[in-house]
Every structure is written in C-alpha cells, then in structure tokens.
Amino acid sequence: MEDILNAVVLLSNFVVVPALAYGSQLALGALGVTLIYGILRFANFAHGDLMAFGTMFVVMATWWMQGAGLSIDPLPTALLALPFGIAAAVAVSLLTDRAVYRFYRRNKSPAMIFVIVSIGVMFLMNGVVRMVIGPDDRSFGDGARFLIKVKEFREATGLSEGLALKLSQGLTIAVTVAVVVALFRFLQKSRTGKAMRAYSDNEDLALLSGVSPDRVVLFAWAIAGTLATIAGTLYGLDKSFKPFTYFQLLLPIFAAAIVGGIGHPVGAVVGGYIVAFSEVTVTYAYRKFLIYVAPESWRPEGLVQLLSTEYKFAVSFVILVVVLLVRPTGIFRGKVI
C-alpha cells in the first residue's frame, strides 16, 4: 500500500506537477496563436518572439525594481513588473499591425503572405530582443522558492517519496486559471468578446451586423500580446529566460492550438495540456516508479525512458501529425480553411 502511495507521489512530483505548469504555459501561448488565427486567419510565426519581447520588458522592469528595493516578497517581483511587459508587448503588437499587417488585410492578401510577413516581424523582434538583452540565459526570479518542500512533505506524510511544488509552478497554475476564466468570460459575455467570436465565425456577416473590423483586430492583438507576455513570464520564472527557447516554444504551441482545433479557445487550453502531458510522460524515466509498483522479479535494469528529453520536440510533432491525419479539424472542430 505504501509502495503504491509512494509511486503516486513520485509520479505527481515528476510528471503531474511539471506537466500542469508547462501545460498552463503552453495553453496561454496557444490561446494567443489561436486568437490571431481566428480573427486574422494566419499562423503567426512571430508569436514566440512576441513572448520573448514582452518577457524581456518584464525582466528589465524586475531588475529595476529589485535595484530600487521594490518587492512583494514572498511573491516574485516579476509579478509586479508584469504590467510593463504587457504594455510593451501590446504596444509593439498594435504598432506592427498598423505598420505591417493592416496593409495586407486591406488588400485581402492570401493567408500565406501573412505568414511570410509574420516571418519578417519575427526577424525584427528577434533582433531587437537580442540587441537589448542579449541571447543568453537571464534569471529574474526571486521571492520564495517553494510552496511545498520535499522534506516537509516527507515528514508530514511519512512516505519515502517527497512532493515539491515550486512557487513558480503554483503561480503558473493559479495565474493561468485566473487568466483563462477572465478571457472566457470576456469572450462569452462582453459585447466586444461576442463581436470577436462573431467575426471569427463569419467575417462577412459580422461586418453586415455593424462589427468594426479594426476594433476586433485591435482587441485580438492586445489580448495576444497580453497572453504572450504572461505565458513568457511564467515560463521564464519556472525555467529561465532565454530568447531562443521562446522561439522553440513555437512548435509545441502550434501543436497545442492545432490539436485543440485552431481558432477555438477551449481547444487551445485543452491542447496545451495534452501536449505538455504527452511530452512529460514520454520523456520521464519510469525506473523508480516500476520499482514501487512492479513485483520484485520485474525490476527494470535501465531507466525505462521511452524517449530522451532532447527529443521532446518529436512528441509535439507526432501529436501534430496524428491529429492532421486522423482529425484535421482538431478535437473541438476548429477552422479548416
């Protein structure tokens, strides 16, 4: 019995908690991608770099606040700095829309042109981020490290396995729940939210109903910039801030959006967790787990790891391909144009 409990705690510690946190970060990223897809109808390749851009401002504001002695200990200062990053990301999103995307929208350019344009924007943001803060790892987390410590957990439960919950993980999950609830309330209940859904559903009819496309697009970018910054900051607090990692997040984020059904907000959230849980379960080494649950004679010799962590991209990719082959509209029947 105790073995089983230990096994459960082990899995929670190394699979469930990390996957929940990572899944939340992906969900927030995928929501931004799916929103832009629903409203502007293209896959935004600059989203990863937008995340890096917003997070960069959070990092710099955090440093400044730390220098000025501002703190909300035990919570990380980055939380206090978040509004600055959000403001910067929203501003740059609106600016690029105005200077770049709007032209193609007015010309009704094909979606692929938008994608190529977003690659140009990606280059720009990529360069700016590296010029300002450099390509290296930056840490900006402070405050308490843990909500639950391994040792305390062990002492409290008497189990030999411990469960740790980092503050950044708890924060990620809590903030994600809050943001997702707020966003869904906005989309479901507010006039503008409904207009956005209507525009995404049937652009022509939305125009006939008097919805102003500029307003809808403005909100889409503002929300995407906000979500990107929050996702990037939470990811940075949980792991660390490195611009290139954010670019690489593009793949799991796209996978999450597509699995859920692109253009579909609920799908993006579900997709985020599906991708995260698949990645973590496939790359986890089950040796210790099996020692707890399997009979003595079955003790594995190796790590019993299906795939080494370096291949986590393969997981996103396989999920992507399976969805495209089996159900191209995604779980929630998103848009297939």
Partner: protein
Amino acid sequence: MREVPRAPLCFAVMAGLLMLVGFGQSWSLALSIFNLCLISAVMALGLNMQWGYAGLFNVGVMGFAALGGVAAVLVSAPPVAEAWRVAWSDLLAAALALLASVAAIVAARRGIPPGGLRMAVTAFLLLVGYGAVRVFFDPAVEAIEAVDPAKTGFLGGLGLPVILAWPIGGAVAAGAAWLIAKVALGLRADYLAIATLGIAEIVLAILKNEDWLTRGVKNVTGLDRPTPYEVDLRDSAGFQDFAAGFGLDAGEASTIVVKLCYTGLFLAVLVLILVLAQKALHSPWGRMMRAVRDNEVAAEAMGKDVTRRHLEIFVIGAAVIGMAGAMLTTLDGQFTPGSYQPLRFTFLVWVMVIVGGSGNNWGAVLGGFFVWFVWIEAEPVGAWAMDVATAMLGEGSSLREHLLAGAPYMRVCVMGLILLLVLRFSPRGLIPDAVHRRAGH
C-alpha cells in the same frame, strides 16, 4: 518584359558590391563571401522550386541542409574499425529487430480490417518493436561511444572522397523529404509549414544527440577536402614561383588559390542546377507544375494528380537543399550540429527567395547572393554604425558597451526590414517571375 533589362543590372550591382569588398577589405574576404553566396544561391534554388514552382511552404530548410551536412561526414570520415568491431553484432541484431517489427506491423495492417482493433495492434507492435530494438541498440551505442571518446566515439564514415557526399547528401535529404511528403503533403499550406518546422527540429535533435552516428555536439572536424591544402601549396617550389609571378607571397596566394578551387566547384554545381532548373521550368512538366500552382482546383479537375506533382517537386527541392548543405559542410571542413540555427538556415533562405523573386530561378540566385552579402556585411557595418552613434556617450559608458555588444544582432533586424520592405513595395521580388503573380495582391 521588365525581366530582360532588370536581371543583368541587378547582377552587375552585385558584382560591384563584391569588388568593393575586394578593394576595400580584402580579396580573400570577397572570395569567402562569394563562395557562401554560391552555396546560398543553390539553397535558394532548392527552396524556390518548392515555394516558387509549387507553392509548398517548407520551413524545414535547416533540417535538409543538416542532413546534407551529415552526409559529408558519413561519406568522407574514415571508418572507425574498433567501433564496428565492438558493436557489429548488436547493431546487426538491432537492425534485424527493426526489420522484423516493421514486417510484423505491415503484415498486421494487411491482415486486419481498418478500425479500432487495427490501430490497437499497430500501437502494440510499435511499442514492442521499439523495445526490442532498444534492447540491442542501447548496448551497441554504449560500446561505440566508449571507443576513444576524445577522438572518435562514433562509427565513422566510409572514407570516400568528400565530393561524393554532394550527390549523396542530396539523396539523403530527398529520402527524408519523401517520407515527410508521404505524411504531410496534401495538408493545408500553413500546416505543412508547421510540420516541416517540427521535422527540422527533430533532425537537429538527432544529429546533436546520436553521438554514435555524428559525435553529436563534440563535432567532427578535419573533414576531407576536395581541394589542395594551403600548407602543401606553400611548401611547393613550383607554387612559390607561380605566386611570385603575381607579386604575391606564397602564404596569401595559397589561401586565395584554395578558395578559388572551391569557387570553381561550387560554380559548376550552381550552373548545372540552374540550367537543369531552367530547362525543367520550361518543359511540359514545368508548365504543368505552374498550372497546378496557379490553380490547384482547376488542375485537379483537369485530371492532374496534384499531390503527386507536389511530392515530386518537394523531393527535388529538398535534394538541392541537401546538396547545398553538404557543400557547406565541405567548405567548413567540419560538422558542428550546434551551428544550425533556424534563423540562419531556414528563414534566411526564405528571405533570399522572396527578395529575389519567387518562382524565378535567376531571382533565387540573385536573392541568395544579395541576402548573404547583406547578412555578412551588415555585421561590421552595424558595429561601425553603433560605434559612431554612441561615440558621444564617451569611452567608459556602460550603455555604450551594452549597445556595442548588441550590434551584431542588428543584421537580424536588417533582414526583417528587407523582407518587409520587399513584400510591401516589390512583392514579386527583385527579378519578378514573368508569368505569375503569386505574391501580388
């Protein structure tokens, strides 16, 4: 009509720019840039076939280039006999296990009607097969990587002349492209883009982590060369006389001559591919391809097998990219998986094609030249500009130092700017494709 006067003019300007580097900086540098321009042009030609001819959105250029690069290693590196000796039996067993599982899966899929049962059996066999392969393969890997890890630790290659790796690199990339195409073609354009983005990341992960095959991030250096070595030239009496005839010292002359040898080889490849590409584009096959691109629905209605055409062009384009990748690794003389960055190897090639003029082979070549040139020269120019701009901050200023450190990334911004400006003001590129208006509005 506009194509006729414009193309030669663009190429003349390009030649002028390179001369400027020759006179202003050094001829050796100008040649280095030119060589990479040639490789870039080949890469851009490959992508242009996929995007410009067929409208296939491949964002996995990096993966195909890296496959070409690894081919250069596997063809030219000397085999590591010791590694083969310690691991051959396990490798053989692993290969047999792989074959057996593939056979079992194929048989099961033939025997069982489509449905849940078939999927379950396939999944089960996949898992068992994967386990069985790993049982033999893992010890083999361990044994191989233990063989003199500081120097080898991998199986080595075939020990053949590296130039053979160029066509072989193309073939390897083509094979991978065929597999991908079987799965991903026929998808919507942006899904194909995301799928290829993933493939490239996976290829890179394999090359970085499968040390038994590529030495991973330990890199493979000192690859065979298709050209003479500078040292040999310098030491030969005949060459010293030859160099003296031009009034150069042997050291300087030897680097230039070696670079010229590469130039000759690359130019030959570029011309060959360009001629073939032009011929293909104006053949019935090329016309059909363009018909498919410009109106998929109509082409399908006319009985053209769109997916089949797409598959062909995807594979051919990937082969050209793979060949360029092999050429690049040959020029570097080493294989360093860590140096493959999507920005440089995928998206930069995209900028080349769009800036040059998608659908036009000459445009792709010019784009390759121009964009590579800017990419290289923007770095010193950016550093210089930043230096001048921040001079008033004074020597010790930390802001100035910070800005100077960031200056190398200015070229990334410059690329983004070029791409956006071209898309906006000359969406068909520097040398537009005379027949089509894909990027137009």
